[in-house]
């Protein structure tokens, strides 16, 4: 049984301007100890999907349907008390901006102890010992002194380590990381990713890595979901995705990755803006930005279908298989020749 199984998840928000369909019909499963990379632009619904999984969307504004099963237990519609038991204990979560994700008026020790005391029946002294231990584990120097410092006394990278420590302190089975490296500089990013990988091996936990950075996905993920306009547009094993992406949007994402030796050249970019979820485009959400758009794309949303490579590589596109193979080979040749140049 997968650790987390999501089926046909829909989340919409009532706003003053109308209904925003942030997540529509998202399904995936996460196996124990595996890493799922979730890729997409801002506004693709990747963060909202997992806030919904955690029950962290405001029920007064959000309408949620579908199924979220944690080891077979239905989480959608579970009681608030049950969700509070799960959050921080079975599923830990870390967020994008470590500068604002810690309470500025409490010491980090207090905040770590709080996480322990919510879920474990231990004394504050014992909670503090656990806090120092986990700070050592996320490689914070002089952890036994720094535990009494306030968040503003730490750098961004160190704060993200504290966030990771806080998410891991109760030994969760699943860690949801919502763009954990986006707000950090490149060298710090690499350190944080390495740390997460090491902790995953030690703690045998599953990770959901939400990111817009395909480099991060390539480094960490086993499986990948590509999201666009609140929908999954392509899903595959990480190697399959990079070997033969099937969907024009994924091609665009791969083409817009910076490469070291393409000196001075402009990066490929996907023209246009991510779709408005308030007034989504008709048919395929990607059609206004797609180079290969056909008349059918404007009226119909393609279903997720299996690739010729295997049933677990699925994507949404109306282009014929030969056509897509031809286009991708052309693109890959261009990318490879640039790399070689």
């Amino acid at each position: 049984m997968p650790a987390l199984e999501v089926k046909d998840l829909n989340t919409s928000f009532r706003t003053d301007d109308g209904i925003v369909q942030a997540v529509s019909g998202v399904s995936f499963s996460l196996d124990e100890g595996h890493t799922l990379g979730v890729v997409g632009e801002s506004g693709s619904g990747k963060s909202v999907t997992f806030l919904t999984v955690m029950g962290l969307v405001d029920p007064r504004q959000a309408q949620v349907s579908g199924s979220v099963q944690l080891h077979g237990e239905q989480m959608l519609g579970a009681s608030r008390a049950r969700l509070q038991q799960i959050r921080g204990a079975t599923i830990g979560m870390i967020f994008q901006d470590p500068m604002t994700s810690l309470n500025p008026v409490k010491t980090i020790g207090w905040q770590l102890e709080e996480a322990v005391l919510i879920h474990q029946d231990v004394t504050r002294k014992d909670a503090r010992r656990q806090a120092i231990e986990i700070l050592k584990e996320v490689e914070i120097p002089r952890a036994d002194q720094r535990v009494d410092d306030y968040p503003h006394q730490f750098s961004g990278g160190m704060r993200q380590r504290v966030m990771i420590a806080m998410a891991l302190i109760n030994g969760p089975e699943i860690l949801i990381a919502d763009e954990p490296t986006t707000a950090l500089d490149v060298t710090t990013q690499a350190q944080i990713l390495r740390l997460m990988k090491r902790l995953q091996d030690q703690h045998k936990m599953a990770i959901v890595m939400i990111t817009h950075d395909l480099g991060v996905v390539a480094e960490l993920a086993d499986d990948v979901l590509v999201m666009y306009g609140g929908k999954v547009v392509e899903e595959a094993k990480v190697d399959d995705l990079f070997a033969k992406p099937e969907m024009p949007y994924t091609w665009g994402l791969l083409g817009s990755l910076p490469r070291l030796n393409s000196a001075g050249e402009r990066l490929d970019q996907i023209p246009g803006q991510p779709p408005s979820l308030l007034n989504p485009p008709s048919g395929c959400a990607f059609h206004p930005r797609c180079e290969y758009v056909m008349s059918r794309c404007r009226t119909e949303m393609p279903d997720l279908r299996s690739s010729a490579q295997g049933a677990d590589h699925r994507f949404r596109c109306f282009l014929e298989d030969e056509e897509r193979t031809r286009i991708w080979q052309g693109k890959r040749a261009a990318l490879v020749s640039e790399d070689a140049a």
């Binding site: 955690m54 962290l56 608030r80 509070q84 038991q85 799960i86 959050r87 921080g88 204990a89 830990g92 979560m93 967020f95 901006d97 604002t100 994700s101 810690l102 309470n103 500025p104 008026v105 409490k106 709080e114 996480a115 919510i118 879920h119 306030y150 503003h152 966030m163 806080m166 998410a167």
Partner: protein, 323 residues
């Protein structure tokens, strides 16, 4: 910390001079003849000239100002009233406790109303509770203190006879010639002035607290707390409240400092012998030393409360704690 204190003290001195010089300048500009007012209705021009000389009003204004500064620095005295020759120090010492009773008691009232109401409206925006408090806020912001005071005095004091209509009683017993005294009478007589203050200020504070709590609730660290599995109650008490009270402390400090300089309307309506009351009298008799004395007191009050705010802020927010 020393650096901070020294800067504070320099600011205080600067503010003191600005406030008092402006008071003297205004006094010099307005067409008033304090000597004639002090000499009385039946005084001859010769009497007025004598009074004028006696009060040093025949000197140029800058000389009068220097005399005031010299008296304050050299003798620690704010001078004597033109009208009744009482020392200003003793008048202020007599009036300030009345104003302080009104202001601090009022602050306790308006805070104990606006903190819970502000938080509840923030938790349930657009609910019935929020809308009712919004109506109350609109009334409080729109209404004039004189009107509120008069209505309360008429309805609660006169028609219903629940409270005294006006007047003040000392908190401490043992004042000679007092008609009433003691904590119970003190509070009893101050109920309506406090409620007037409460309606005025609670309106602003409910809005302020509601806005701050709502803003804090959308902070990332509140989401982090929820992701840890914290209950809503814990999120509110441990993570939202302290952070959302920071701006409230600033505004409260400024309001208290300002109000201590004289709650003119409320004191007039309820006939409370406080600084605001004294200020009105001094204005009517062009009693410059009294006006300047109250201005000095108000300046000191504002400075002291701003200092208290800064120190409190340091306790509440480690980011600005002087190391």
């Amino acid at each position: 910390m020393t650096h901070f204190l020294i800067r504070r003290i320099f600011w205080a001195i600067f503010l003191f001079f600005v406030a008092t010089i402006i008071t003297y300048l205004i006094f010099w500009v307005i067409p008033a003849n304090p000597a004639a007012l002090a000499a009385g209705k039946s005084a001859t021009p010769a009497d007025i000239a004598r009074v004028s000389h006696f009060l040093h009003l025949d000197e140029p204004i800058w000389k009068q100002y220097l005399r005031f500064v010299w008296n304050l620095l050299g003798h620690g005295s704010l001078g004597r009233s033109y009208v009744n020759r009482q020392t200003i120090d003793s008048s202020i010492a007599k009036d300030a406790p009345v104003t302080a009773s009104l202001v601090f008691g009022g602050a306790v009232c308006w805070l104990s109303l606006s903190i819970p109401v502000g938080i509840l409206s923030a938790l349930r925006p657009r609910s019935i509770m929020d809308r009712i408090s919004m109506i109350f806020v609109l009334i409080g912001i729109s209404a004039h203190p004189v009107w509120i005071g008069l209505i309360l005095s008429y309805v609660v004091g006169y028609r219903l006879g629940l409270t005294p209509i006006a007047g003040y009683c000392n908190f401490f017993t043992g004042t000679a010639g007092a008609q009433c005294e003691g904590p119970v009478q003190w509070a009893y007589h101050l109920i309506l002035p406090w409620i007037t203050f409460m309606i005025l200020f609670a309106a602003l504070y409910v809005r302020l607290i509601r806005a701050n709590v709502m803003e804090t609730m959308s902070e990332d660290y509140v989401r982090t707390a929820r992701a840890k599995g914290a209950s809503e109650r814990r999120v509110m008490i441990q993570h939202v409240l302290r952070n959302s009270m920071l701006p409230v402390v600033t505004i409260l400090g400024m309001d208290l400092g300002l109000a201590l300089g004289g709650a003119i309307f409320t004191e007039s309506i309820f006939n409370l012998p406080g600084l605001g009351h004294e200020l009105i009298n001094a204005y009517n008799t062009a009693d410059l030393p009294m006006i300047t004395g109250i201005v000095v007191f108000a300046t000191v009050a504002v400075i002291v409360f701003n200092f208290i705010v800064d120190v409190t802020y340091g306790f509440l927010d480690p980011r600005i704690r002087p190391s």
